[in-house]
């Protein structure tokens, strides 16, 4: 998704003089086109994320729109106080781009993964979170983020191949079905979409939440969850503060009957071993055979009741 991002910001910057780009010394073999295009509006702020975020806040105070790029965990963990006090507290239009949300950086190891980014940014209420799923989403997400008057976190990852069923927006349906509703966020949807053929047609009603936080679950989607009575939430993120907990709070206030609920989230590093993003997703039961097994068991159990 990095390349789509570079292209999209390049287009933005060409027409919007307020756009500037900062990187935390990352972007080799990716950000060069932006660097070449933007000249002084492209700043490699070095390996100094706290300074980079405060500098971005200062630039935003002057009316610029800083796009700040790094590997996801570096983009928000070390400079979290700066994001909180300098950006969010002042509601400044700083756009944080975290490449490799979830297990995106795979074999690079835990220090390069971001399993807590959604929670952390939900804890900064001024921030909106955008999680593209398909490659075509990225340009649309970037445009939306630039238009948005406040701060944004854009979670990039290995995209889902193939065309998006619809333009990037806060809620999209990826598949229609009857037996269970699935709500997912980001590119972990890929593993699920690959598995759909292993189930009878129209088993899963799959939705993706593109923009967090969610203020209200749309009425029609709530109606689907309520009538279906089975909800699965799939996220490449820890359960604490993640999408499942987020939706639970919203649903608990509206549902008048219990539903069957399966939250599927990352647990981290059960074996202490490492591999590709795919390997980590499978170890965390978020893709492949382990995911298939979890879904089958859930359907069986639901059917049995």
């Amino acid at each position: 998704m990095r390349n789509q991002f570079v292209k999209a910001v390049g287009q933005l910057a060409a027409s919007d003089e307020r756009v500037v780009v900062l990187t935390g010394d990352l972007g080799f073999m990716a950000l060069e086109p932006l660097r070449d295009q933007l000249g002084p509006r492209f700043i490699n702020a070095g390996i100094a994320e706290q300074n980079m975020i405060s500098v971005a806040a200062g630039m935003a105070e002057r009316g610029l729109i800083p796009w700040v790029y790094s590997i996801a965990p570096f983009a928000f963990l070390r400079p979290y106080e700066q994001l909180r006090n300098d950006v969010a507290l002042h509601n400044l239009p700083v756009k944080i781009v975290g490449n490799g949300g979830g297990f995106g950086y795979g074999i690079m190891g835990a220090t390069h993964h971001a399993l807590e980014d959604l929670a952390c940014f939900r804890l900064l209420p001024a921030f909106k979170i955008a999680a593209p799923v398909f490659s075509s989403d990225v340009g649309e997400a970037v445009e939306w983020a630039n238009e948005h008057p406040g701060p944004v976190y854009l979670r990039l990852n290995l995209e889902v191949q193939g065309p998006s069923p619809s333009p990037f927006r806060s809620w999209r349906r990826l598949a229609e079905g009857e037996k269970a509703v699935v709500v997912t966020v980001g590119t972990v949807a890929q593993g699920l979409l690959e598995l759909l053929n292993a189930f009878p047609k129209s088993t899963f009603d799959v939705f993706t939440a593109g923009i967090l936080p969610i203020d209200e679950i749309p009425d029609d989607i709530f109606a689907r969850i309520d009538s279906c009575g089975s909800l699965i939430v799939l996220e490449e993120h820890l359960s604490a503060g993640g999408l499942a907990e987020h939706l639970s709070t919203l649903l608990l206030q509206r549902l008048r009957r219990p539903i069957r609920f399966l939250p599927l989230a990352a647990s981290g590093y059960p074996s202490g071993r490492y591999g590709s993003q795919k390997w980590h997703r499978e170890e965390n039961r978020l893709a492949g055979a382990p995911l298939k097994e979890s879904l089958e068991r859930f359907l069986e159990k639901s059917h049995g009741e």
């Binding site: 100094a48 300074n51 405060s54 500098v55 806040a57 200062g58 009316g63 700066q82 002042h90």
Partner: protein
């Protein structure tokens, strides 16, 4: 020519002293009424803030008080300057106030950023200055840090950044009172040799008595004509809690509210100083 300049400076000197005395009286009253801490921190930088605002800043320049716990000095300064209403002094530290113990966000005039967590201000100033450069704005950003906050790594990130990008439109002043939250700076995490450290980071380093307007003005004149091309940092030698008698230069004056006696002592000290200068 020289005598006209020195006449102008004499007049400015007198104005600065007068405004500073007014600022200090107001902040002392604010602290006494609110029974609040941090008065020592505000008293060590009152001259610095007065000098920056009334002796150096242009109308388009900005001031970032990175040592946000000296908020009362900033509020008093801004009231003196007419940016804030005088009545606001009474609301300092009170229930439902805008004037919290540390400067709030929300675009109060003269307060570009909420500070209070140490170590952010210099980077914020750098960002504003970098933004100004990109936008072709010819103005300066003044940043006042404490010395204790130089413990924070983010300050040194900012220093590297400012020096590397030659952000000469940042003017950094350090309130070097030698004290921090739970001890003297040199006992907690020694900063010395500070001048050499900052010089090694690529700054033009100057030192001045942070309570002496004459020294500060001379420095300003020299720096305004300087062409070293390096960004500037001024180490202002100050006394924490200046005017508080026995509480001067103690950690106590960082935290403790003013007693009636201490308030009276500080006001007397101010009056004595004025009498001495006007004599």
């Amino acid at each position: 020519m020289a005598s006209i300049k020195s006449d102008i400076n004499l007049k400015l000197l007198s104005q600065l002293r007068g405004k500073c005395a007014s600022i200090k009286r107001r902040l002392l009253a604010m602290h006494f009424k609110a029974n609040s801490g941090h008065v020592g921190a505000s008293l060590s930088c009152a001259e610095i803030l007065t000098f920056v605002r009334f002796g150096w800043m242009g109308p388009d320049d900005d001031l970032v008080l990175s040592k946000g716990h000296a908020a009362s000095a900033l509020y008093s300064l801004l009231i003196e300057a007419g940016d804030l209403e005088p009545a606001m002094a009474d609301s300092f530290y009170g229930e439902g106030t805008l004037l919290a113990a540390h400067p709030p966000p929300g675009k109060l005039p003269g307060i570009p950023f909420a500070t209070g967590s140490l170590g952010h201000g210099l980077s914020l100033a750098a960002g504003m200055a970098m933004g100004d450069r990109l936008l072709g704005e010819k103005r300066r950003v003044f940043c006042v840090t404490s010395d204790g906050e130089l413990n924070e790594g983010s300050i040194w990130e900012a220093a590297l950044f400012i020096a590397h990008h030659r952000l000469n439109n940042v003017v950094w002043l350090v309130d070097r009172n030698g004290l921090q939250g739970f001890g003297r700076t040199e006992e907690v995490m020694g900063l010395e040799p500070l001048s050499e450290k900052l010089s090694a980071f690529g700054f033009e380093v100057d030192q001045a008595n942070g309570h002496d307007f004459s020294a500060l003005l001379s420095l300003r004149d020299r720096l305004n004509n300087a062409t070293s091309g390096k960004p500037t940092v001024i180490l202002c030698r100050t006394t924490k809690g200046l005017g508080l008698g026995k509480l001067e230069d103690t950690v106590d004056c960082h935290y403790l509210p003013l007693s009636q006696e201490q308030h009276a002592q500080a006001l007397k000290d101010l009056a004595d100083n004025e009498a001495r200068t006007n004599a």
